[in-house]
Each structure stands twice: as C-alpha cells, then as structure tokens.
C-alpha cells in the first residue's frame, strides 16, 4: 500500500497505539484538547469547510448534520455512534476500532463538544464481542486519565460515553431503527420527519455518525480543512477505507484517496482476481449497491463517479465475483439476506423480499418459468422507494443490477433448466419440456395467471 495517503490506518502496523499511553505518544488526544478550546460554531465550521461526508453509506455532509441540531430546544443533546457495522462485505469499522480504539473515542468526544452533548452512546453490533471489549477497555482508560467524565482535561466540560451492545439485527444500522433499539424497543425505523437532529434519542436532538466518519474528525481538527480537501476528489475529500473481499488474491481493508479507480484497488492492492480468473461482477459498497462489471474497472471510487456508473459507493465494501460464480445464486443469496433482516414493518419489504428470494431460488435451481423474469422486474419496481427505510431499496439492487447486466445468465437457467456456469440443476428433457413439477424443491412458489400465490408443500 502506498503510505502517502494513510490517515486513519497510519498506525495499523503498530500495536503500541492500542493502549492510551501509546495513542498519546503518537499524537492522540491533541485534537480533543484543541477542540475544547474552540467554540461549537468554530468546530462545526472547520468540519463543514473540510467537506467531510458520512462514510456509513449515504455520504451526507457531516458538518451540516451537526449544524442541524437546535441550540435552544431546552432538551439535552446526544451523540450516537453507529458501530453496528452489518452491511454484507463491510468490515473496515471493525479493524479501525481493533487497531486504534482511542481514535473513535477522541472523534466522538469532539463531535459531542460540537453539539454541547454530555452523554454519548456507542452502539456496537453484538457479533463484535471482542471489539466491544477492546473499546470498553479504552473507555475505562480514558475515564481514568480524565479524558472522559467530569471536567475533562481539567476544564469545565463533562462527557460520559456509554457502550451499548446490539443483538444481531442488520436493520439497527439504519439510524432511526438504531435509536428505537437503544431506547429498548424492537429495532424498527421511524418515519422522518422529525429527523434525529431535531427529535432523535429520547425525543431529543441527536447526531448519529459512523465510526470511520468520526475517526476523520481529529485529523481535520489537527491539520485543518484545507489539508483534508487536498486528499480525494473535490466533492468527496479525504480517504476511504475500502474493504475488498471475495474472489481476490489479497482481500483486506485498504485506505486510499476517495476517487481511486477500482482497477488500482483490485490489481495493485488486492493482487487481482483469485487464481488469475476473469472478473465477472463487483459491488462498490456492500450488498445494497448495484453490481458493476469488468466494464467498470476504471470507475473512480467516490460518491459521484460510482453513481454516474449506475451504482452507489455505499460503505466502500467491494465484493468480487469471478467467471466461475453464478449471478443468479449471488442475487438469491443477497435477497435472502434482506428477507431475513426485514423488520416486518412495511409490506413491500416484508412480503416483497421473501417472494423475490423464492422466485430467484426457483430460477437458480433450474425450475424457472419464462414469465419469472418480468415478475422479478415488476417486483423490483414495486419494492423500490415504497418502504420507510432503505433496507428494501437495498434488496432491489442485486435484483435489478443482475437483470441489467446478466440477463443472458437468467435466460440460460430457464432455457436449459440448469446453471450455465456451474452446470447444476435437473436440465430440460430432450423435447424441451420444463422439468416435472413434482420434482420441484419443497417450498417452491407457483404463480397462477389469476388468483393468489400458492406454495408447494405449505400447510393449507
């Protein structure tokens, strides 16, 4: 990896920065001291000027988010750190915290200072059991050193940070679902407005930021907005810690300037496609972002460039599939994920993801119908933008993008009754008939021309 643009990962080779003393020796907590000497307006302004945008998927300008918090609500304000990293393919937050936990505490404390918050929460996904312990140990050290608690760093500013563990629900990464969960309810999203900045945790003004976003903040305070803007692209300054996984030689988390072409990440850093095979498809930002193909290798990995190419930067989680992978299977597995993780609140999501996963499963296993393809396209259109939150939209990404780029693979599954890539499936009779209905897998779905869906093998 070229070291010139390593900001958040500059100390990843050095385990001495994990304990507080080592983090301080490397310059840690200097930014918090500076921030305590600045006004809230000054802090918000420098983050606004830096152009920092949220790294959790949406890319919303961080300073602007902070500025939406009203000063005169008469209520307490809260910072809530979203460490519920659960987007399939994404693991940069995990490694950032494992290798430099105090950087998250420092960034969170500065954010708290900017909105005059005295109680912050870090919501960590339950599966990050050890990472939560690492973070709690760092919090305990920060309290013991006077960097958290009453009168931090000897001044008059009080701040507590409480770690809260999730329990295995992807939806809690959605900010309003996260708040519901933290308040002790099922993790279901809320209708916006009101936005969390006005009415969030405990009906009070709340800022919710991603781990990587907050870890950028101390560097911005230390080095200034102009320094930050000198990295990355004009509209997306800074670096991004990309996770690349799947069929590559050297999967891992790589910090590169925003806008770095996918080709450079794949070939120079990740060592190319596993076994020298041909690239077939990749997600730019996790399972919620439409697949791109080998035709998109020169796309720059920043919000605007990826969007221009027809997808989304999301969390910067690149999952790579090669020529031996079946795209129908990939789409089915990802849609199954959304069906499993749908919180059940909105009908298009709860029902649509389930039905879509069944139809994809039928095509994958060689029992697809000719009219399944328009049905899939229709389902996508009827799920997209019709639910409270973006989870349902995420489910549509693998459906629509595989139909767009890999229609021939769908058609071959249906025509041949088997997967054209792996060869699995019953195959068609010589006469071209579909495989016998009786051989269909249990739970397959039948669409009648009129009337309701039937499920084979379901109790009536």
């Amino acid at each position: 990896m070229s070291d010139s643009h390593r900001v958040l990962t500059a100390h990843w080779h050095d385990p001495s920065v994990i304990p507080l003393a080592g983090y301080e020796a490397a310059g840690g907590y200097r930014a918090l001291r500076t921030a305590l000497g600045m006004s809230a307006d000054e802090l918000i302004q420098v983050v606004k000027d830096s152009g920092l945008r949220g790294r959790g998927g949406a890319g919303f300008p961080t300073g602007m988010k902070w500025s939406f918090v009203p000063r005169d609500s008469g209520k307490p304000t809260f910072v809530t750190v979203n460490f519920d990293e659960s987007e399939p393919g994404t693991c940069n937050n995990r490694e950032l915290v494992e290798r430099e936990p105090h950087a998250l505490i420092e960034g969170s404390a500065i954010a708290a200072r900017a909105i005059d918050c005295h109680l912050a929460f870090i919501y960590v996904r339950g599966e990050y059991l050890w990472q939560g312990q690492v973070l709690q140990r760092a919090l305990d050290e920060a309290y013991a050193t006077g960097y958290l608690g009453r009168g931090i760093m000897g001044g008059d500013y009080d701040l507590d940070i409480v770690l809260h563990r999730g329990a295995g629900a992807y939806i809690c990464g959605e900010e309003t679902a996260l708040l519901s969960s933290l308040e002790g309810f099922r993790g279901q999203p809320r209708l916006r407005p009101p936005f969390p900045a006005v009415e969030g945790l405990y009906e009070s003004p709340t800022v919710i930021n991603n781990v990587e976003t907050l870890m950028n903040v101390p560097h911005i305070v230390n080095n200034g907005a102009d320094w930050f803007k000198s990295i990355g692209t004009e509209k997306a300054p800074g670096t991004k810690v990309f996770t690349i996984s799947g069929k590559v030689e050297r999967p891992g988390n790589y910090e590169l300037p925003m806008g770095t072409p996918m080709r450079e990440l794949l070939e120079e850093h990740a060592g190319g496609v596993l076994g020298g095979r041909a690239l077939k498809a990749w997600t730019p930002g996790g399972s919620s972002t439409p697949f791109l193909t080998a035709d998109h290798l020169d796309v720059g990995l920043d919000f605007e460039s990826v969007m221009d190419a027809g997808s989304l930067l999301g969390t910067g989680a690149i999952m790579v599939l090669d020529e031996t992978d079946c795209m129908v299977e990939a789409a089915r597995r990802l849609v199954e994920f959304y069906a499993h993780e749908s919180c059940g609140k909105c009908t298009p999501c709860r029902e649509g993801t389930w039905w879509a996963s069944r139809v994809l499963g039928r095509i994958e296993s060689g029992y697809g119908h000719e009219d399944d393809l328009p049905v899939m396209a229709d389902m996508g259109e009827n799920i997209l933008f019709r639910a409270f939150c973006a989870l349902a939209d995420g489910a549509v990404s693998p459906i629509q993008s595989t139909l767009q780029h890999f229609m021939d693979e769908y058609e071959a599954h249906i025509r041949e009754g088997r997967c054209p890539v792996t060869g699995t499936g019953p195959g068609r009779e010589a006469g071209g008939d579909r495989p016998a209905e009786d051989d269909r897998p249990a739970g397959d779905v039948t669409f009648a021309a009129t009337g309701p869906f039937e499920i084979q093998g379901a109790p009536s």
């Binding site: 385990p15 994990i18 304990p19 659960s86 399939p88 393919g89 994404t90 693991c91 937050n93 995990r94 494992e98 290798r99 109680l119 996904r125 339950g126 599966e127 990050y128 059991l129 050890w130 939560g132 312990q133 690492v134 709690q136 140990r137 305990d140 409480v162 770690l163 809260h164 563990r165 999730g166 329990a167 295995g168 629900a169 992807y170 969960s181 933290l182 308040e183 002790g184 309810f185 993790g187 405990y202 996770t243 690349i244 996984s245 799947g246 069929k247 999967p251 891992g252 988390n253 399972s287 989680a317 999952m319 599939l321 990939a330 597995r333 990802l334 994920f337 499993h340 993780e341 919180c343």
Partner: protein, 195 residues
C-alpha cells in the same frame, strides 16, 4: 425460578444505572443478555422479572427478545457455532462449513440443539470479517479462514472440554459466558493490550 437475585440483582441495577434516569427501558437488551448468561437462554421467568425491573409489561420485553437473533427465546446448546453464509463467505466455501458444523455437532438442519445439549448451530448473516472469509464464530469469538476440516476439529475440541483459541481476543468458554460479556460485565484484562 428467580433469575435476578443476590449478586445478579446488583448487576442488573448497575446495568440500569448506565442509562439516564427515567430511561431504564434502554437496559432491556443488556438485561436480556444477563438473564441469558445465567440460564443459557431467555426464559419466561426472565422476561417477567426484567419487565418488573424496568417497569414495562412482559409482552414488551418479549417483543424485544424475539426481534434479535442473538437473544435466544429457546433452549440453546452449551456452545453456539455460528456460520456465515453471506456472499463473501459463500464465494469461498461458507455453505460447506455450515454442513460440516451440523454434521459434526449432531444438530439437525432446522433443529435448535444437539441431543446431548452441547451444541447449537446457527446460519449467520454477515459477521463483518469478510476479508478473512470464510468465517465462523464459536461462542461469538471469531475463527477466520476456516475449512470444513477445521470445523470438525473445533467441534472435537469442544466435545473434549477444550475451547479453541479464536483468531482475535481470548477464547469464550460457553454461550453463557459470551452472553455475560455482551451484558457488559466482563472487562478485558490489561495483558490483552495488543491486537
């Protein structure tokens, strides 16, 4: 059976005190984890007692307990083996690991616990260690780049009373012990100060 009494009740009160006054409902998840650490799963008694502790109805606690997959409203094995089969792991053999875990542990596919009560197997969505796929967790501790052979070895070790060292952090001896960590009651030792 009373779940929260003596030391457990003190711990429950300390958990509630993490949250602002009047917001004790926020403690429901760590309290459910604490109950799970005592009984190995979330029992009806636990639901009722937690409702009493935070001043809500039992049904409201149950609504939370049944929403989250890491809270188990059914009897669970001494050890929980979680296998990721989401895309990055599936591309590199995650489905074979799930098969191996079921086969080696004796937990039937679709079943909850092995006959001897030692194991539960759970098919997981993304565990957030995609760069080291395929991965599993044993009592919520990570094992990276796992093979079906390694799954069988791990199950064998657990059967003989040894919990294998995970890829990062200390070994977690049981699902109950994991639940106690998740309730925020087990700080890491200083010695573990390196990754």
């Amino acid at each position: 059976m009373t779940v929260f009494e003596g030391e457990r009740l003190d711990e429950a009160r300390a958990i509630i005190a993490r949250y602002p006054h009047g917001r004790q409902r926020s403690a429901v998840m760590p309290l459910l984890y604490l109950a799970q650490s005592v009984e190995g799963w979330v029992t009806r008694d636990a639901l009722r007692e937690i409702a009493g502790l935070i001043g809500v109805r039992t049904a409201e606690v149950e609504a939370v307990a049944t929403f989250y997959t890491m809270l188990r409203p059914r009897p669970t094995g001494t050890h929980l083996i979680a296998v990721c089969t989401n895309l990055s792991c599936a591309l590199l053999g995650g489905n074979e690991l799930l098969e191996a875990a079921h086969e080696a542990s004796g937990v039937p596919i679709g079943g909850e616990v092995s006959d001897d009560g030692e194991f539960s197997v759970h098919e997981e969505e993304c565990l957030g260690v995609c760069e080291l796929a395929p991965v599993i967790q044993v009592n919520v501790a990570n094992h990276d780049r796992v093979t079906p052979e390694r799954v069988r070895e791990i199950v064998g070790s657990l059967r003989s009373g040894e919990v294998p060292q995970p890829a990062r952090g200390p070994a977690v001896e049981s699902f109950k012990a994991a639940s106690r960590i998740l309730a925020g009651l087990e700080p890491l030792a200083e010695e573990g100060a390196t990754a």
